[in-house]
Structure formats: C-alpha cells, structure tokens
C-alpha cells in the first residue's frame, strides 16, 4: 500500500470519528446558552408582551426546548447557523463570513511570525545553551509568556500610535498599517512560547545517541542540526500549533476589542452580551470545527514527519 492511500484512509477514519465529538459540542452549547439567565429580547424597557410573543414565535423560541434542539440540529446538517437575533437582516453564516477573514488574516500572520521567530530563537538558544545570550532571550521569553495581551496592546498603542504616530491606534481597513499592532500583540506571546518549547526539545534531541552518530560521521554541525535534529525537535511545536492556531485565527476577543477590529472575536462578545443564541452557538461551533480540523492536520503532519507513526497507521 502506498503512503498516500494510507493517509487518505487515516483521514477518512479521523473525519468519521469527529461526528460524535461535534454532536456533543452542539448539544452542550445549545443547552448552556439557554441556561444562562436572560434572553435575547430582554432590554432595559420591557417590550409589550404581544411584541415579545411575536418575536419569540418568529425565532421559534416559543417551542418546547427539545423541539428547538432538533430543529437546530437539522439546520446544522445543511450548514445553516440560522438568523442572528440581534443583527437584524443578517444570518449567522453571513456574520461569520464577514468577521472570519479579518481574524484569519491577523491570527494567521501572527502564527506564522510566531512559528518562524519562535523556532529560530529556540534553536539559537539551544545551541548556545547556558550562555548569556541564552539566559537573556529565555528571560524575555518568560516575560512574553506571562504578560497578558491587555497590557501589551495599550503599551504598543502608546509607543507607536500616540507618541511616535507611525501607526493607527485602532480600526481596520485591510491595510498593513492597521494590521501591524494587533498582529504584533498576538505574535509576541506565541513567539515566546514556541521559543521556550523549541529550546527544550532541541536540547533534548541533541543529547540523543543518533546525534552522536551524526557527529561521528564527520558531518558539518549545520547538517547535524538541520538534517538530523530539527525534525524530531519540531514535533512538540507542531502539536502545540494545532489548537493554538485555531484560537488565534478565530479572533482574540481582547485584542479585537482593544484595536476595534470587526473580527469573529468581536461578534462573539456582542453575541454573548446580547444573548444572541444563534450567533454565540454559530461562533462556538465554528471554533470547535476549526480546532478539530487543525488537530487532524497536526496528526497528519506528525505521521508525515515521523515514519514510525506512518508505518503503524498503515
């Protein structure tokens, strides 16, 4: 059997395995949003009862809960998240289509930067283990991991928008200038985290017997690192990146709020505050599907990188 056939089979099996997970997710989300106090049409001023009843009838909120649940399942089957309760005239699908590209762009670029710089810094530190440069970079990485976004973002805005005036303090117009600060805010902790992860795994791999064999062959150090050590050292980073990428590209709630970016994260907050059931459920499910999909991607990458796993799966 060829490797490709094996991969296809593995992929199919994984995707089928995902169905029960999704069903569970839908069920939990559906009932959780409804358990939360308050409803979509609660406002400061109580609506006249007949209008309230009309609205509830329109969105089927007057039906028994179980009936609503199965109605929702039926919709999901045809990939329809239903109308938003709050954004009149918008479906949840349209809102996601609106917000996701923005979050995907910011999060995707941030992840890419995180990977490239994180791996580079991590490898560099591992090769200079316990030197001053190693301690300094790892000190910064520790800071990067522990300082929260809501502290980093205002500091960046103050420095680069308010004082220097080089970049806008917020807003989104698909220009690179409006992307820089949010991307950097998101990327910094990822760089820091991956650098620490990469340093640790690289140091561990460099102690293996097979690295000693590579050195005994008289190969230049570059080849020892790039050909023999990098691949195994990357594995922990790859598994971290699956869920981390899902979280980043679906929009950081905090960062999108601070920079007033109309991404998925902003819609999610609005949806939650307004008890916009369908919007909240839609975004959560979308996020869930992304996490699952990215985990499948990670597993595939794993089996490509690790011949032993590929072999056992076949």
């Amino acid at each position: 059997m060829t490797l490709d056939q094996g991969l296809v089979r593995q992929l199919t099996r994984r995707l089928l395995g995902v169905v029960p997970t999704l069903l569970l997710l839908i069920t939990v989300v559906f009932f959780l949003v409804r358990v939360a106090p308050g409803g979509p049409f609660d406002t400061e001023k109580a609506l006249p009862p007949e209008i309230q009843a009309n609205l509830e009838a329109k969105y089927h909120l007057d039906e028994p809960l179980l009936q609503q649940y199965f109605r929702y399942l039926g919709q999901i089957l045809v990939l329809d998240f239903g109308p938003s309760f709050q954004y009149k005239d918008w479906t949840v699908n349209e809102l996601i289509a609106q917000g996701f590209p923005v979050s995907l762009t910011i999060g995707g670029v941030a992840m890419l930067l995180g990977f490239v710089f994180g791996v580079g810094i991590g490898v560099g530190a591992a090769l200079r283990q316990n030197s001053a440069a190693d301690f300094t970079t790892m000190g910064f990485a520790m800071l990067g991991v522990s300082i929260p976004n809501f502290v980093v973002a205002p500091v960046l805005i103050l420095l680069f928008a308010v004082y220097a005036g080089w970049l806008p303090a917020g807003g989104w117009d698909w220009s690179w200038r409006s992307a820089v600060l949010p991307v950097v805010t998101l990327a910094l902790p990822v760089i820091a985290y991956i650098a620490r992860l990469m340093r640790g795994s690289m140091i561990e791999v460099l102690h293996s017997n097979f690295i000693r064999t590579a050195r005994a062959k008289g190969l230049p150090e570059r080849q020892v690192i790039l050909r023999h050590a990098l691949k195994p050292a990357l594995l922990p980073v790859i598994s971290y990146m699956g869920p981390a990428t899902a979280a980043l590209i679906t929009g950081s709630v905090v960062v999108e709020r601070i920079f007033s970016i109309p991404g998925l994260g902003s819609y999610f907050v609005q949806g939650a505050l307004n008890r916009d059931y369908t919007l909240v459920m839609g975004v959560v499910l979308f996020y869930g599907v992304l996490i699952i999909a990215l985990n499948v991607v990670v597993d595939l990458l794993y089996s490509i990188l690790n011949p032993k796993i590929a072999y056992e799966e076949l």
Binding site: N209, T213, R215, A216, K217, G218, E221, H228, L305
Partner: protein
C-alpha cells in the same frame, strides 16, 4: 612500520551532581596499520568513553586530557571542524547501542549517502549505489529495497549491520567497533563479531574491538588491552595473554570464558564481586577487594610495569597468578 594511532596519557572525567567520575585514567596504547587491538573489560571500565574522547564525542559533562596522535596529528587538540575531516572518513566508530544509534526519522538511504556524498564527493546516485554495495557486504538481504526503509523496520542485529555498513563507507584507516552487549541475544552478538572480523580482515584496515568477552577476541585480534576501573591492567599479544596472563583480573576473565570442551559452559567462573564505585575509588590497587592474591603491598597502587618485550601489567605480584 609507522604508528597509525598513538594514545598518550588519556584521562576522561565527568562532572556529576554526586562528584567527579574519573572514568579513564592515564590510558596509553598504540595501533599499527592493519593491526587489530581488542580492548577488554567489564561494564563501566571506561572502554567506550576512551574511544569517544578520542573522537571528541564525550557527553557535555565530560572532559578529556592527553594526546591521541593519528598519523602524527593530535586529534584531541583539534577543533570540531578539523576533527570532522577525520571522523567518518579516516576513523569510523560503530556504537554499542543499535536501537538508538540510527536516526529514527530518516531512511537508511539518507543516513548512508550523506557520508559518501560529504567525504567522497559522490553524487546522489553514485552514493546510493555505493551504499547498497556496503549493505550487501554486511549481508542485509534485498538491499535495493531495504535501503528505503526506516530503522524501526529492522531488528537490532540488522541495525547493527547497517551501522557497520555506514562505518565501512569511506574505507577508514581505523574502525572502532563497540560490541553491543545489551539489546541483542548471544547468537546475534557472535554473528556480528564474526562479521566485523570478516570485513576487517578483507579490507586490511586497523581495528579496535571493544568487548566484555575475552573469548570473542581470541581468533580476531593481534593484541589485547585489558582495562579495569579506567586503567590499563594488562597488555600483550593474544598468544601471550592466553598462554600466561600476568594480572589476576585477566586470569579471571579467561576463566569466565564459556568453554565448549567443558560440561558447564555457562561462565560459572565469573569474577566474584563488583567493580569499584568510580565516584569513590578506594586507595591502593583498584582490584584489591576482588583479588584472591592480594597482599600487604597492594595497599599501595601498583604502577604499570614492563615484564617483557611489548607486555605491560599493573600488579605487585612477581609471578603469574
């Protein structure tokens, strides 16, 4: 003939949380072109670390001093870049752990052709042909197909054969073969020893064979160096060592060789006791606690003496034990 490899005053020390381990203590030996030297000793006697030190491959907590002149040039004074001109090309080492010494993430082909491409300047295709030849020489069946496989698809014995093939790629002047003592069963071990013997004899390279078992080296080597607790305790030709061992430890090793002409070929005569703790070596002769011949003088550590032409021993006894 001129000396190929000459090791002088080699010391290897490891820093550990429990203190310093002085694993190799003042090792001297020399190797002539085409000669086969066996280094024999129990587990922990410093055989492997001595070889690793010569090739600059010690663990990070280890440090070596002394000299190792290869064709007159001191390997131990070389930078890693300078060493890389010799490692894998003039001096190849086969490690003792077949299960972990090959890279599990790369195919056998990748791990073989990189050596030939780097040292011999071969192209990918030629290097591959050459690698397949070497696999055939170590009797890997169907090498054209199997070269594409990964280490986990081979048994321990097969992996060790692959290690030998990698060692042979550049026809080194010196092949250092560290015998796998764990992970493989006895039959496979002796097949591998015979294979090393065969390739060494065929190519007329010099070799250092590392083993626990004096029985293995009898037919395969010219000289024997016996190590105990990091030191040379006896040195001589195979004939001399077998005919008249001068050190009680060597005597013990010979008696512990399983012999086919005896009923009890189960190594019943293993030397009693254990090697000393390398973290706290006792004063005096390091073999004293296990030695049946120990006497007052042994409270003083014996020097290496030259009881005859080309022989060395480290023992206070006047007569052979």
């Amino acid at each position: 003939m001129s000396v190929l490899l000459e090791v002088n005053g080699l010391d290897v020390r490891f820093e550990t949380p429990e203190g310093e381990v002085h694993a190799v203590r003042g090792l001297n030996f020399s190797l002539q072109p085409g000669e086969t030297l066996a280094i024999v000793g129990e587990s922990g006697s410093g055989k492997s670390q001595a070889m690793l030190a010569i090739l600059g491959l010690l663990a990070e907590n280890g440090a070596a001093t002394g000299q190792a002149r290869f064709k007159g040039e001191d390997l131990m004074a070389m930078t890693p870049q300078e060493l890389n001109r010799h490692r894998g090309r003039d001096i190849a080492m086969i490690f003792q752990d077949p299960m972990t010494s090959l890279n599990p993430y790369l195919s056998i082909e990748r791990q073989m052709i990189e050596v030939a491409m780097h040292h011999q300047g071969l192209g990918r295709r030629e290097a591959r042909t050459h690698a397949i030849e070497m696999l055939r020489a170590v009797r890997i069946p169907d090498p054209e197909t199997r070269i594409r496989q990964y280490p986990h698809e081979f048994s321990g014995g097969m992996r060790q054969r692959i290690m030998i093939a990698i060692g042979l790629l550049c026809e080194p002047d010196v092949l250092i073969a560290d015998e796998p003592t764990t992970a493989l069963d006895v039959t496979v071990q002796s097949q591998l020893a015979a294979l090393v013997d065969e390739v060494v004899a065929r190519s007329n390279m010099a070799a250092i064979l590392i083993t626990h078992d004096l029985g293995v080296v009898a037919g395969m080597s010219d000289r024997v160096l016996v190590m105990y607790a990091g030191e040379v305790v006896e040195y001589g030709t195979v004939e001399q060592i077998y005919a008249q061992p001068l050190h009680p430890y060597t005597r013990g090793l010979i008696d512990s060789v399983p012999r086919l002409d005896r009923e009890d070929h189960e190594a019943l005569h293993a030397i009693p006791g254990n090697p000393p703790n390398m973290l706290a070596l006792p004063p005096g002769c390091s073999f004293r606690e296990r030695c049946a011949h120990a006497f007052e003088a042994c409270a003083e550590a014996p020097e290496l003496s030259e009881p005859g032409e080309g022989r060395l021993k480290r023992c206070h006894l006047e007569k052979a034990p």
